[in-house]
Symmetry: C2
Subunit: 341 residues, 2 copies
């Protein structure tokens, strides 16, 4: 097998979208606690309660996933028939929120799983598939829900378990970015596929620490592959490292000579307000999804930021892997969002 370099590959991990798709619509649905948070006024919809008229939290999460897609389409008056593929996932076992939403939406569906990195993974694949001429429109969508995540990963909510200072609160929310072929204001120009990185963290109440090394790894891979530096970006966004994980990321970057400073924005660190006392901040794939599809897209559209490196980070554990004594590996995928002109 002869060695060859792919035409749209930079370095080993970075993809160039030769015909970059644009963001045709974005939509963010958030839960009530999130609605009272820092970006509450920027979400397209804020739920009044966690069940949203359904019998179970899981059904409510599935409804959020589905409505994020419908909301994005309605906002820009795009018919469902225009969407060639739904690409997405969530945190529940067997990504059931995404599966059942895909059933309701009747769209061709590619399920992906990257834990809390799923928003970036879906965008990367969606952009690659559109630039590659396979689809003209893809709905990249993810969700998470505080109550379903607690039930699955932690303790019954009814127990009122105390949380450690490094614990994060899973964001109840869903976000959809509708990518389209053609020319528009905000484009996806590059993507960097993450490697799985594990520095041996075993504390399931400190996901930020488990994910920060993966974020650093992908940032440095992106810079090495593209020849760029932090100076080329207005903002370097991470998904849900939270307060402690963000500190660790900045320290890991500092050790390698990169001062992130005010360029770094972590959705988990920022999504809740300090007075909400959610410990180390927000987490879950809904965290980066709701912030990206409201606050960040608005800033890109307005020109507040012209070029954003958006990374979402995932902790790749399961309840079983932790119970079997495994450490917590992390992964971070990245995409570059650019405003034209």
């Amino acid at each position: 097998m002869a060695a060859r370099k792919a035409a749209n590959q930079l370095g080993r991990q970075t993809l160039r979208f030769a015909e970059p798709p644009f963001v045709a619509a974005s939509y963010a649905i958030a839960g009530p606690v999130e609605g009272a948070g820092a970006f509450g006024k920027e979400y397209d919809m804020v739920l009044e309660d966690d069940l949203w008229g359904r019998d179970t939290w899981e059904q409510a999460e599935c409804r959020m996933f589905e409505e994020a897609v419908r909301g994005a389409l309605q906002k820009e008056e795009i018919p469902m028939s225009r969407v060639d593929c739904l690409i997405g996932g969530d945190l529940l076992n067997q990504i059931v929120s995404a599966n059942f939403a895909a059933r309701q939406l009747k769209l061709p569906f590619l399920g992906v799983y990257g834990a809390c990195s799923t928003m970036a993974e879906a965008l990367l694949l969606g952009a690659a598939m559109i630039s590659g001429g396979y689809f003209s429109c893809a709905a990249c969508t993810v969700s998470s829900h505080f109550c379903t995540a607690e039930r699955q990963y932690r303790m019954p909510l009814e127990m009122g378990t105390q949380r450690t200072p490094t614990a994060q609160r899973t964001v109840t929310g869903a976000g959809c970015t509708l990518l389209s072929a053609g020319v528009g204001l905000v484009q996806v120009t590059l993507g960097t596929v993450g490697k799985v990185v594990d520095l041996g963290v075993t504390d399931v109440s400190n996901m930020g620490a488990a994910m920060a090394p993966a974020a650093a790894d992908t940032i440095f891979a992106h810079f090495a592959d593209t020849g760029r530096s932090a100076a080329d970006y207005d903002l370097i966004v991470t998904g849900d490292l939270g307060i402690h994980g963000s500190e660790l990321l900045r320290e890991l970057c500092r050790q390698k000579g990169l001062e992130l400073g005010k360029k770094h924005f972590d959705c988990g660190e920022r999504v809740f307000l300090p007075e909400q006392d959610v410990k180390s901040g927000g987490s879950g794939c809904g965290c980066s999804a709701v912030v990206l599809n409201s606050h960040l897209m608005a800033g890109l559209r307005s020109g507040a930021w012209k070029r954003v490196l958006f990374l979402a980070t995932g902790a790749l554990l399961s309840v079983d892997s932790s119970q079997q004594g495994e450490s917590i590996p992390g992964v971070a995928h990245a995409v570059v969002l650019e405003r034209r002109g």
Copy 2:
């Protein structure tokens, strides 16, 4: 947003790989029961027991996943550094087998989840990413393990629960198809992305019935998109419908005027021998993976079949979704494998 058709899109669901990647290597590892089955002599490796030297079945499954990739590379003397991306998943919660294997392999990693359809989903994405010029080599890999699946989805094995006639046995096995840019004997030329189909089956011991409608849906979508018919294929392979699901698929096709007859080959129906008494056959994403990467690839290489439509089908349920009264949706993704000349 103007309507437009993507250059490499046929109909709505089918992708054309303009520069079709070829199968640079394939590797199948199977468990001991599978080794005693119909294709036992064709697997690259057969385990002597279910733990394979590890402490837990989950760790053994992860090892199979990892070794499938290493085995494929070693077989064709391809260095790990040549692989641009690992694309794959498994059936365990949060696809931990794939995640932990990706950590060991140190490859850029895209996790996907399509339940037992994951082998086809990984091949479809791998082929699209290579033909699109993003990667020159991708390792498309999946695994499943009878003991980990029973523990997670069903009953403790120690209980010796009786199985219904429609129940299938999850295949212990992992398969890796290494796709490469360039020209080789067996190519991946088309892919069809499945829709999630749900006819309301709720019997978790009858996955074949839950998945058969999705298989039929994707077969007809593929024919409609491409203008082809069954006559254009030497073999139409499904992943793990099993004996009862295969019967149902043939009936569903017959109702729409398509007589699959001897062209249809279901990996689940064939993977075990009748005297092994595994009820309705094999299942799990390892089922289609081990048969594809041994028996089917050998047949394609030898010229026994020149053009194969390979579909893998997934039942998109979780333990929680079933406990909450949901029915079982299914999905089927397809790729076309062709022998040159």
